[in-house]
């Protein structure tokens, strides 16, 4: 999923302080799962913002709406009925959702309430870790199902580097060495010999380095 975290309240308040009526839009997808921008977080932020306004002797009217998916124009359309009653929109979706709203309502200021973090997995209750960088050319088949692009701090394709210590990365004992994990997994698979195949220099064109990306599925295009 795409993970996110709420921005500092001060920054959010800075964005919305000029307004009296906002729509606070949550999203039912990834940010609900990572407890950053679902219905519940919308309610919480709404209360907090209203209280912050009240403290300054102001009032803020918040229209709380949580969409099925903010990154889908079909669902963003649901805001049409409410948008005229709002001075601004505060989105609790990932960056994709914020941009969909901005696109649909060109005249309306739209602000992000979250910092979109990474594509990750849930490690345990309340803990998420980065797993994929979306490089566009998956090499997990070569690396025992553990991604060095996302999980090695130096993105090293032929690791581990000289900083690997007790299975941890040189940057922090809290970060696993991806290449240690890869090696352990290759051993478990009985594929130790695979380790010595050099992974060639990566073609970064399918990744973000090739410019903004797009997928067009001819069979689905209307």
């Amino acid at each position: 999923m795409i993970t996110a975290e709420r921005k500092p309240m001060e920054e959010i308040l800075d964005y919305i302080s000029p307004f009296q009526r906002i729509i606070l839009v949550g999203c039912n997808e990834c940010v609900t799962v990572c407890a950053a921008g679902g219905r519940k977080e919308v309610g919480l932020l709404s209360s907090a913002l209203q209280m912050a306004f009240m403290k300054d002797g102001k009032t803020l009217s918040v229209n709380e709406i949580t969409l099925e998916r903010q990154c889908d124009p079909e669902y963003v359309e649901e805001l049409v009925a409410h948008i005229s009653q709002a001075d601004a929109v505060l989105s609790m979706a990932c960056g994709c959702g914020v941009q969909e709203i901005a696109k649909r309502f060109p005249q309306k200021p739209v602000f992000p309430a979250l910092n979109t973090k990474f594509m990750g997995a849930s490690e345990s209750q309340g803990v998420w870790s980065e797993r994929c960088k979306g490089c566009g050319d998956c090499i997990l088949g070569l690396t025992g199902g553990i991604c060095p692009v996302a999980r090695c701090s130096k993105r090293i394709m032929n690791g581990p580097c000289g900083g690997s210590t007790n299975g941890k990365c040189e940057i922090s004992p809290d970060v696993d060495c991806a290449w240690y994990l890869i090696w352990e997994r290759l051993k478990a698979l009985g594929q130790e010999d695979k380790y010595e195949d050099i992974i060639e220099a990566k073609d970064w064109r399918p990744s973000w380095h090739g410019g903004p990306r797009k997928i067009i599925r001819e069979d689905l295009v209307e």
């Binding site: 309240m9 309610g43 919480l44 209360s47 907090a48 209280m51 912050a52 009240m54 403290k55 002797g57």
Partner: protein, 140 residues
């Protein structure tokens, strides 16, 4: 300010603090009328949203009173509540309210005296802090 009577909302677990409050009553122990008790089946049921809404609706202080460590009827509702209270403190801080306005307390069903005593202590603490700044702004 001298005659400020704070409104305190206490989320009390049915199995401990609520019973303790009851016991305080039957022991004829008085405790401040400022404390408004909300009975919950377990403090694990108390969400940050509930705490925030109490403040939004005019509470000057909030506390969550759950079972002693290891005694939760639902295993660990009390420790979850404790973490949520910490989160609520952070949130209050972020919007400029004193984090001391919310606390987590632990007690058993038999601690009628402790219930009454903490009700006094917390009422006094909040009295010193003064009214919830939101209310102040509202009035002025």
């Amino acid at each position: 300010m001298g005659n400020f009577e704070p409104i305190i909302v206490a989320f009390c677990c049915h199995y401990c603090a609520y019973t303790a409050a009851d016991m305080a009553g039957s022991m004829r122990l008085s405790y401040p009328a400022n404390v408004k008790i909300v009975r919950v089946p377990c403090t694990g049921k108390v969400d940050v949203q509930h705490i925030l809404q109490a403040f939004q609706n005019g509470a000057d202080g909030v506390y969550v009173a759950g079972c002693l460590e290891g005694d939760c009827h639902f295993k660990n509702g009390n420790t979850k509540a404790a973490r949520r209270v910490i989160y609520a403190k952070k949130l209050l801080n972020e919007i400029g309210l004193e984090e001391e306005r919310v606390e987590m307390l632990l007690m058993s069903a038999g601690m009628g005296e402790r219930f009454a005593q903490t009700a006094f202590e917390i009422t006094e603490k909040i009295r010193k802090l003064g009214p919830n700044p939101i209310k102040k702004a509202k009035k002025s």
